[in-house]
């Protein structure tokens, strides 16, 4: 998770060299840099290398195959289906997750009695893990004993097979992911709304703007940096945090077309790497995902600098 502050990659000129010492700063940096080098950068390079091999991490076998892994992936209907599902899932969770969070944060920012309690109750679910979320939803939407179907059966006489019907399972995982992400987004939106310049909005009201106009014409543009930041953190969350949720809730299923309806890129990566032990194929998928994350981050910096209103 990044900070919503101005993300400038290079240290700026305002830093002063207060303390002297050539080796000292490196001593302070060494633990962090060492861990990053060994557990992040080395595995990243190794992933790129493994992607060019037909390998099995359990047997310890390796055979150089060049770009064959990538060619196989990109021509595989199952992988294309998984990629498409991931895209749809990501777009849905990010769009609806952010709209809902913004609405709720805006509502909770109104100065009504007990507002701080409301805010607290809205952000508490942040402490829930994706695995717990999956467990709760699994029980709630259990076709036979879940309370949702008990209610639906009572009211409308329907008892959908949530986890066996591809569309329903997909919708369920998407809803659960949106629900899980709400609190995190609300935290950042609340903080940003509290930092909005009151005088600008007051001026708009004096000029006769309605509350809706103030929101869409004044507040919403001013909230664009945080929205922008959240779009990208939410994309990353949809790509990766969905793993525990789908693993517990649906196990990537139910099977439809060429793959499980709720099998997303990271779940497929895990399946190939640790269930089917196709290490090379999994590494190639990891390499593609690395490229995807790099692209998303690049977009974030590029678009973020240009289009987003960063306040004063």
């Amino acid at each position: 998770m990044l900070s919503p502050g101005r993300a400038r990659p290079a240290p700026d000129a305002s830093e002063n060299a207060v303390f002297r010492g050539r080796a000292l700063p490196w001593v302070f940096l060494l633990p962090s840099l060492l861990i990053l080098a060994v557990f992040i950068y080395l595995p990243a390079l190794q992933t790129l290398r493994l992607a060019a091999y037909r390998a099995n991490v359990i047997l310890g076998t390796e055979q150089f195959v060049g770009l064959a892994n990538f060619a196989e992936l990109l021509s595989s209907p199952a992988y294309r289906q998984v990629a498409l599902q991931t895209l749809v899932f990501t777009v849905l969770t990010v769009t609806f997750g952010l709209l809902l969070s913004l609405g709720l944060a805006w509502l909770a920012s109104r100065p009504v009695r007990g507002a701080s309690t409301y805010r607290l109750l809205l952000i508490y679910p942040y402490a829930l893990s994706p695995a717990i979320a999956g467990t709760l939803w699994l029980f709630l939407f259990n076709p036979e004993i879940g309370v949702v179907n008990a209610l639906l059966g009572e009211l409308f006489g329907v008892r959908p097979r949530w986890l066996d019907t591809p569309v329903l399972a997909f919708g369920l995982v998407t809803l659960a992911a949106i629900w899980k992400g709400l609190a995190y987004n609300i935290v950042f939106y609340l903080a940003s709304i509290q930092n909005l310049p009151g005088d600008v909005m007051e001026a708009a009201e004096i000029d006769g703007a309605t509350p809706a106009q103030v929101f869409w014409r004044v507040a919403f543009p001013l909230l664009s940096p945080i929205t922008f930041f959240l779009v990208f953190t939410n994309i990353i969350a949809a790509l990766f945090d969905s793993f525990a949720l789908t693993d517990i809730l649906t196990r990537g299923g139910p099977y439809t077309g060429n793959a499980g309806a709720t099998t997303f890129l990271v779940y497929q990566l895990y399946q190939d790497g640790f269930v089917n032990f196709r290490t090379g194929a999994a590494a190639a998928q990891a390499a593609l995902m690395l490229a995807l994350v790099a692209f998303v981050t690049w977009m974030q910096f590029r678009l973020g600098e240009r289009r987003v209103h960063y306040g004063s």
Binding site: S3, A17, P31, L36, Y41, L122, A127, S129, W179, A286
Partner: protein, 291 residues
């Protein structure tokens, strides 16, 4: 997030509006917030209620609380090893949180108060690591940790790789930059070294940032799932998130009352940390927001 009361525009609009319209607006806000909170917390409320019901009631749609919580809990605590999973998760989350905070403080100290060659490159190296999530590296990381380091089934495997924190380094750097340098100059003239400056001046001035980060890092470490799932083959070192999966997996007959009791207990430690550090969390973020 109750630190600063927002000067929300609606407040001022309401003030100008007729009294009845304002009163109705307030009422609608209350109602909307209550409904939203009820919907959002429904799965949680449901879990808490179900965790108290006996195994005969738990499968019925009944939403009346029962008195079997402790019985449900003791079932999973001993028989399904929830107690052991919780202890493992606690050890890991505390170590990761403490380690990340310490390492990030030291790194930020170097970045803000020293001038040295390759500083920009080092900072970029820290920041770029944000682009490399564990999930993507998991294949190669598994190879490294289990084959080369032979750490499979040790706590080290789920602690050490996560000790460096780009987020922490970045936030501490931002915070240190907001502290006047004259303070550091004065400290240095008085013969205070960088480490003493860190422990005596910077850390006491950074409690909100430390608290905010501690919440994020504890929750992150507590929620770890995919990495422990693959690297911990031995059950006695497994973390509680993966343990939950095993509670459900027991076979055809899932004891849902016990599972819900397990889920409720598993949710507690992050909630406790969150509650304890709620003020710091809010302030820490308000401070690091760009204004």
């Amino acid at each position: 997030m109750a630190v600063k009361h927002p000067a929300a525009p609606s407040a001022r609009a309401d003030r100008a509006a007729p009294r009845s319209r304002r009163a109705r607006g307030v009422w609608v806000t209350h109602a909307a917030l209550i409904v939203a909170i009820l919907i959002i917390s429904a799965p949680l409320i449901f879990a808490v209620i179900k965790s108290t019901q006996t195994s005969s009631v738990v499968l019925s749609p009944s939403l009346l609380p029962g008195g079997a919580f402790l019985q449900n809990l003791s079932g999973v605590w001993e028989d399904a090893h929830l107690g052991r999973y919780m202890r493992n998760s606690l050890v890991v989350a505390v170590c990761v949180t403490a380690g990340k905070t310490l390492l990030a403080l030291l790194a930020a100290l170097a970045f803000v108060y020293f001038r040295f060659p390759l500083k920009g490159a080092a900072f970029t190296l820290v920041l770029l690591s944000l682009m490399l999530p564990t999930e993507v590296l998991i294949i190669a990381l598994f190879d490294l940790v289990s084959r080369d380091l032979k750490w499979a089934n040790t706590y080290a495997a789920i602690i050490v790789p996560f000790l460096a924190s780009a987020t922490g380094t970045f936030l501490f750097r931002q915070h240190f930059l907001s502290i006047p340098t004259s303070l550091a100059d004065a400290a240095r003239i008085d013969g205070c070294g960088p480490l003493r400056y860190l422990t005596h001046i910077l850390i006491p001035m950074s409690t909100n940032t430390i608290g905010a980060l501690a919440v994020i890092q504890f929750v992150y470490a507590w929620d770890q799932y995919i990495w422990p799932l693959v690297i911990m083959q031995q059950d006695d070192k497994q973390v509680v998130q993966v343990g939950l999966r095993k509670l459900i997996e027991v076979g055809g007959q899932t004891d849902w009352g016990a599972v819900m009791a397990g889920a409720v207990i598993t949710a507690l430690p992050p909630l406790i940390v969150f509650t304890a550090l709620q003020k710091q969390f809010s302030r820490g973020f308000a401070l690091t927001e760009d204004k």
